[in-house]
Subunit: 212 residues, 3 copies
């Protein structure tokens, strides 16, 4: 398998995981019907990649150029719709699929940005944006405060994963291995943060109404 092929495979697994995540969120939060579940699954799965391609100026975005992104996203949403009982056996399935999608999109988004000519700093930022973009659109559409604002460890692990995926190849590590290591780091930091309840500091406001 070529490096490009491996990157595409990781990306499609990420699309599938985000489609499951978005579709389960649609069923969980607002009891949407089949079309709503598929729509939210697709937005969650392809939203981050579209934002990345728009910012890179790679237009039309890959989702519109080739058929398999949308097919994978639709497939994932339908699997979630009909298989939610099975998926509910996974412990905290929405968290798990969201973490898988986040980790894979952070590293693939960053490496695709490098392939498109972005420099290292841009590629890390675009990897992070690709990772958090779909979930942020998902949360805005179902009217939740998005994870990038509340989650503490959501954007940070994505950026860490993107750093590894971009910097390791500059040091001679193969792209595939760097993507794998970055993805594992992102997933580990996010999961560790959630399990151990790592918390970032909060500001203690005595009279928040003074700030208006």
């Amino acid at each position: 398998m070529t490096a490009q092929g491996f990157l595409l495979l990781l990306e499609l697994v990420g699309v599938f995981a985000f489609a499951l995540d978005g579709a389960l969120t649609a069923m969980r939060s607002t009891h949407l019907d089949l079309f709503g579940v598929v729509a939210l699954g697709i937005v969650t799965a392809v939203g981050g990649g579209i934002v990345r391609d728009v910012l890179l100026g790679e237009l039309p975005p890959a989702t519109f150029r080739v058929w398999y992104y949308l097919a994978t996203a639709t497939g994932g949403a339908l699997v979630a719709f009909w298989g939610h009982r099975l998926l509910a056996r996974v412990s905290r399935p929405i968290f798990v699929f969201d973490t898988v999608g986040l980790s894979l999109f952070a590293v693939t988004g960053a490496q695709l940005a490098v392939d498109a000519g972005a420099d290292a700093g841009q590629a890390i930022l675009l990897g992070g944006l690709t990772a958090v973009g779909g979930g942020t659109l998902r949360d805005v559409l179902v009217r939740k405060v998005p994870s990038i604002l509340t989650g503490g460890l959501y954007a940070v692990p994505a950026l860490l994963g993107a750093v590894v995926a971009v910097v390791a190849p500059l040091l001679g590590v193969s792209g595939g291995l760097a993507a794998f290591a970055g993805g594992v780091l992102c997933a580990a930091v996010r999961t560790g943060g959630a399990l151990r309840g790592w918390k970032a500091p909060r500001a203690s406001l005595t009279s928040p109404e003074d700030l208006d």
Copy 2:
């Protein structure tokens, strides 16, 4: 009238209908003042077209290149603001204008994408996106769960209309007739679905909290 002229006419009627829709929604949902009503009318009317042009890489978007899109949108919003008593005589005016805009944007968005060099599959998707884009922005801004998620028959009729508008010309039908037929199909499916209460299946979750 040339084919381009007819397409532009349909598009501007769609812009006007969406401006009425957005402005009435602003008065209905949140009792906004004149500037808020005009702002939501414009966003609803030109939002879908801007998204389409960004994804096609046709920058700056047509809304910024020529004056008549914004003029039509502003005009529609002002008509709604001062004429809402008259518009309220239409049965369910927000639904009606939203359906007119949806149908016209689905077919014009798809044919404009073809003219800009998109292939058939891309054009159908971009037609659907153009149609649902403005209403989705509208709902996000007034904090409603958007129609693409709850409405059942919202994105589907738009995609059906776009299919007709793109495929019929490939079979030798004139572009104008194809746009007309696609628009009628979209409006009929959406209206039929609403009147007859066609519902897509829902997932029955026994314990939704298991999905987190």
Copy 3:
């Protein structure tokens, strides 16, 4: 200092003000932790400029091409997080910083659009969009109805400032002076409107449910 240098300085002051504004909003509205405060500060500070660059087709956007936008935004958010007690001594700090950012982004956004080849009408619209874009994203993310819809005098002063920044140079005024005058006008109209309670007319609906 060159005209470009002065424009960049104004823009970075605007980025800093919007970062304070977004970060304070994050602490005020939803008691977010450090990462959430920084994320909302950055989105508010760079969101408008990214929207402008996407619509101009200047891709990747300046925020991704050079380091100092993100650095200024992050710095502003951290200052707000650790210095909120000090900032609370400013009367109505969120309003003040939002007005500074709005005024500076309206004039710099409009002049940058001119530099990128936009004509006068486009530049005014893009200046207005740059000014209201970040705050609108901020409000959507924390689930407030955005100021462009409710505020009455929010988009209007931004457009007025952009008109001055674009038209005065055509009449021979230097760009720097035009930007200064446009910014002062925008800030004066917005502040005057808020202090004096200028209100735009509202539609009086007898039976809003007729509009559905």
